[in-house]
Amino acid sequence: MAFDLDQPWCLDGRVALRPEPFGALLYHFGTRRLSFLKEPLLLAVVQRLAEHPSARLACEAAGVSAQAMPTYERALGTLANSEMIRVRDERDLVR
């Protein structure tokens, strides 16, 4: 499934994220899968997802250029497929 940059996204609540010199490690307690963010800019994007109305705006806020956007779209798509990130919904509004 193609990743929708214009939806609001966030880190899944069952995911722990640990910054590392190369980027970050992610662990999903539900799927028990480990994954990694291979560079700091992607980490900056993921950390901003929940604060912005769309993934595209989170990317822009982190400093991703228009040319680089497709690369980040793919990377976020990988994270979405492995359930590390999810679309925000009404659950997130009642906090």
Partner: protein, 394 residues
């Protein structure tokens, strides 16, 4: 996007381990012939409940996602469940290895329903005969009862954890069927010559032909089977197996033993690989980040005799502990090198290989050097050296 490949980044070390093994006790109701930690008797210096809780607090601060708890048999510690609850309350996940002795129906229900707990039941034969020959009489039935309790409690996807040996490598399909029957996931790991395993390794490790058979089976079924990345030496056959395919000792992996000693890897319980103790000033974090041993392991390593081998990029020279305890140089080939260099090197070892230490085997039951049919009860400990890896992003 990154300058270095991820494995090269990992080889330089991380701010905290990815896969931390913590053996809670050397006490065990079994005495498996190949126990990696030579367990049996409790060590009087083992960490107290409060000291264990302090370690968990530190793991929380270091953002260690989960610990692989083993032993010995960790569940025989009277405070085992208290420590599990404590870790979960700190959002430090617990995967624990057990022979199943304490997994009653009530315990199984208690374990079900939190994402933060995972269970690995150790079994080293798909039949009672093959299993009990190494793990001890009754251990097969104990493990199956535990699996049945977990399945009945609705614990989906617990692990059936198997150390692959010469005697059980022909049962891989049966192990897979057994896992399916209990809604478990099969996990296969490599037999290392660690602990008591050092004295039986020559009789138990798969033959060259069996290694090929294992590799082919993993290529075919690898998607559904966990290996803890432990068969990376087999990648020399061709297609790399899933995982990082690197030795993680002191880089992404380490061991905390029951007395708080920190070793580079669960299979390297020997003073040469001892980095410090969690009770030292600065605790575990300081040992992980500043110990001289781990610092040296994070430097580029010499490939030695393997430099010119075309398979080196795939196998990376194999397992440090396997080389060490079979008397091979650390920059030489793995004893199970798929190109046969290990066998040639082993034939040239003249001095006695280093002896794993310390030894907590029961004195009343000296460790046999040959595999006999009727064996005292035993317990295999089979911690994974690396976490199970998903696909990377970015």
């Amino acid at each position: 996007m990154s300058v270095l490949p991820l494995t090269a980044q990992f080889a330089r070390g991380l701010s905290a381990p990815i896969c931390l093994t913590w053996e809670l006790t050397y006490a065990c109701n079994l005495s498996c012939v190949h126990c990696l930690s030579s367990s049996g008797r409790r060590d009087p210096r083992e960490l107290s409940t409060a000291q264990c809780q302090a370690v968990i607090d530190e793991l929380e601060r270091m953002q260690v996602f989960y610990v692989n708890i083993g032993g010995g048999e960790p569940t025989v510690r009277p405070d085992f469940w208290e420590l599990v609850d404590y870790a979960v309350s700190r959002r430090v996940g617990v995967k624990f290895s057990t022979n199943g002795v304490k997994i009653t129906p009530a315990a199984a229900r208690r374990l079900t329903g939190t994402d933060y707990i995972d269970v690995q039941i150790s079994l080293d034969g798909a039949t009672e005969e093959v299993n009990d020959a190494v793990r001890g009489t009754g251990s097969y039935q104990t493990a199956l009862a535990a699996m049945s309790h977990l399945a009945q409690a609705g614990f989906r996807g617990f692990k059936l954890s198997v150390v692959v040996t010469r005697q059980n490598v022909g049962q891989l399909d049966e192990f897979a069927a057994l896992a399916r029957r209990y809604d478990a996931q099969l996990r296969l790991t490599r037999l290392r010559p660690a602990g008591r395993g050092a004295s039986v390794w020559h009789e138990l490790h798969p033959t060259a032909q069996q290694q090929r058979q294992l590799y082919d089976w993993l290529v075919l079924h690898g998607e559904n089977v966990l290996t803890g990345d432990s068969f990376f030496h087999l990648s020399g056959f061709g297609q790399a197996l899933p995982g990082l395919n690197m030795c993680g000792a002191g880089r992404v992996v380490c061991l905390i033993d029951p007395v708080g000693d920190v070793y580079a890897c669960p299979f390297a319980i020997h003073e040469n690989f001892l980095a410090g103790n969690v009770r030292d000033d600065g605790g575990f974090a300081r040992v992980w980040r500043e110990s001289e041993l781990f610092g040296s392991l994070r430097q580029p390593q010499s490939a030695g005799a393997c430099t010119s081998c075309s398979a080196f990029d795939a196998c990376g020279g194999g397992c440090m502990a396997a080389k060490f305890f079979t008397g091979l140089p650390l920059d030489g080939p793995d004893p199970e090198c798929v190109r046969g260099h290990g066998e040639a090197a082993l034939a040239q070892v003249d001095a006695s290989p280093p002896v794993p230490s310390p030894d907590h085997s029961r004195r009343s039951r000296p460790v046999p050097v040959t595999i006999a049919r009727r064996r005292p009860p035993d317990r295999a400990c089979d911690q994974s050296p690396l976490a199970e890896f998903g696909s990377g992003a970015g």
